[in-house]
């Protein structure tokens, strides 16, 4: 069996969330890699959009920034932010958005702004960027971040981007057209959301991770089904393509084997 890192596992899970033909918004970091991997494996017709303005990207080199010149090479169009986050995103024309998070709560609400009190924060995180725009209007959201108990909190320090807010019906009440988060990918497990309560639920654990470990590393009551399957391992083909996409290990460099 081929060895792989926890970061590679995440990128592969992200990639598998992309369906062929979908319009996908990829953000900075691992999602860039996940979207690209999907495009060269099972979803060649995915239309990848970056908020800086590049539409339908077929880049061959890995991008560091959502505005990277690499995304422009062979793209169908290079326009601007009102095009991507306005006409396409708020216009309701995007199927899937990838986001990261420093904290999420049990309804998948997201903090990417501050750690600590708003009045005197200990850390200023990157902020919303296009995150709030994507979380508000994309058909569904896939969240990707490395697993740590402090990230799965009962109460966010700051709500940057809406998940399912206070539960069923709350997005609709505010007129948010997007479907909200549907999947969370960490380096330990995958989670989805219970249809009825909109609360986060364990979907699968990655090989070598126990349900007990996940339970201990989430600071709210995680819904745990009776049977939790193991996440299918990356295939040799997925790993080979993934590594060729990031030969310098810019994103894949981190993570344990």
């Amino acid at each position: 069996m081929t060895e792989y890192t926890s970061t590679e596992m995440m990128a592969v899970c992200g990639s598998r969330a992309v369906r062929d033909g979908e319009r996908v918004f990829a953000g900075t970091g691992l999602p860039v890699l996940g979207a690209l991997l999907a495009k060269v494996t099972h979803a060649p017709n995915a239309v990848i959009i970056y908020e800086g303005g590049n539409v339908d990207c077929q880049n061959t080199d890995l991008a560091l920034s959502v505005a990277d010149s690499r995304l422009c090479y062979k793209a169908a169009a290079s326009i601007g932010l009102i095009e991507t986050l306005g006409f396409l995103m708020m216009g309701g024309r995007v199927d899937l958005g990838f986001l990261g998070a420093a904290q999420i709560d049990e309804y998948g609400n997201i903090n990417t702004s501050y750690i600590g009190e708003f009045e005197s924060p200990t850390v200023r995180l990157p902020g919303s960027g296009g995150g709030n725009d994507i979380a508000s209007s994309a058909g569904r959201i896939v969240l990707m971040f490395t697993h740590a108990a402090r990230k799965f909190v009962k109460k966010l320090d700051y709500l940057t981007s809406p998940g399912h807010l206070q539960g069923p019906g709350s997005r609709e009440k505010l007129g948010l057209i997007g479907g909200g988060p549907s999947l969370v990918v960490t380096d330990k497990c995958q989670m989805d959301f219970d249809e009825k309560t909109k609360r986060i639920r364990l979907k699968s654990v990655h090989p070598g991770v126990t349900v007990e470990w996940v339970k201990e590393n989430v600071m709210f009551n995680l819904i745990i089904p009776d049977k939790v399957p193991t996440t299918p391992e990356p295939t040799a083909q997925e790993l080979e393509k993934l590594r060729s996409l990031d030969p310098q290990g810019i994103y894949l460099g981190k993570g344990q084997r």
Binding site: G53, A67, D68, L81, R124, G127, S128, D133
Partner: protein
């Protein structure tokens, strides 16, 4: 027909920077790694400006050096980090010191605020921000955003105050002396920024003739009538990138993020790369022709 006069709006980086008073509000162009006004940021630091407020969607190394030098500590902004490399190191320290104040918006919010300013309407509607703390938690503004029931549909909608900043600053690939501006690759929110400010400054990699502009008017993203000053600054976005001209200087950015984690490291960087070199020309000399040549873009790929 008598020949019309081509107005010459050219000015040097040093002189144009002198026109920025302390406390000015600036709409800041460039997006992420693409075309940020780096040379301008460095000159603001050399001229020891204070008390600026910057409005932008997302910027990175350029804003972080301004925070480090305490030229600008107030931001109405959506994103501030160094993508793929981590949090902005000076911002991290100055936040801990309680010196930086943010008004947080999303990227589309900021772009629409510039559009509202450009259209000369007081606000723009948006169906985002609803349900988030960005609507309710404010620091710099009493009028950060409002939610109303739409007078047509009865459904909730957020309203954002338009931005008409004192200055709008963008970096472009090519401009003529009159300010007719060509931007290649993505535009981010630059088209709106150039039209929303009281005074607009275009920094460009290259000055071309008015004749050349008029040969391809469809390439003009910003007509000169919006532009007040034109500044030729080759490598004006280094260490970031300009599509079709040069790539980002990744080893430099990695060194920056690493070294500036401490105040001492930042002070050393400030002396070595901004103050000590004296000017943009001095900086280019320090980087060296060989390195600049290596960063030059492949004409086909654009990077």
């Amino acid at each position: 027909m008598p020949e019309p006069v081509v107005e010459d709006k050219r000015i040097s980086l040093k002189e144009v920077t002198k026109k920025i008073p302390n406390g000015a509000h600036i709409a800041w162009g460039g997006f992420g790694y693409q075309r940020p006004p780096e040379a301008f940021a460095m000159e603001l630091i050399r001229q020891k400006k204070r008390g600026l407020r910057i409005y932008t969607c997302g910027s990175e190394h350029d804003l972080d050096i301004l925070v480090g030098a305490e030229v600008c500590l107030e931001f109405e902004v959506a994103f501030f980090a160094i993508e793929a490399l981590g949090l902005a190191p000076n911002l991290r320290r100055r936040t801990k010191e309680g010196k930086v104040r943010f008004e947080d918006y999303s990227n589309l919010s900021m772009a629409l605020r510039f559009l509202g300013g450009a259209l000369n309407v007081p606000f723009m509607p948006i169906r985002h921000l609803l349900g988030s703390d960005m609507l309710t938690k404010a620091r710099l503004r009493k009028d950060k955003a409002k939610v109303i029931d739409c007078p047509f549909t009865g459904k909730p909608i957020a309203l954002l105050p338009s931005v008409q900043a004192d200055f709008g600053v963008i970096c472009a690939q090519r401009v003529d002396p009159e300010g007719n501006t060509q931007i290649f690759g993505i535009k981010g929110e630059d088209n709106e920024i150039a039209r929303c400010a009281k005074t607009t400054i275009v920094f460009a990699e290259e000055i071309i003739s008015n004749e050349e502009i008029r040969r391809n008017p469809d390439l003009t993203m910003i007509p000169g009538l919006y532009v007040d000053y034109v500044v030729e600054v080759p490598f004006g976005s280094w260490p970031m990138q300009v599509y079709g001209y040069y790539d980002y200087d990744l080893p430099h950015l990695q060194m920056y993020v690493q070294q500036c984690r401490t105040e001492e490291g930042w002070q050393e960087y400030l002396e070595d790369w901004i103050l000590g070199v004296g000017s943009h020309e001095g900086l280019l000399k320090k980087i060296g022709e060989k390195r600049l040549k290596a960063l030059r873009a492949d004409k086909v790929r654009g990077y």
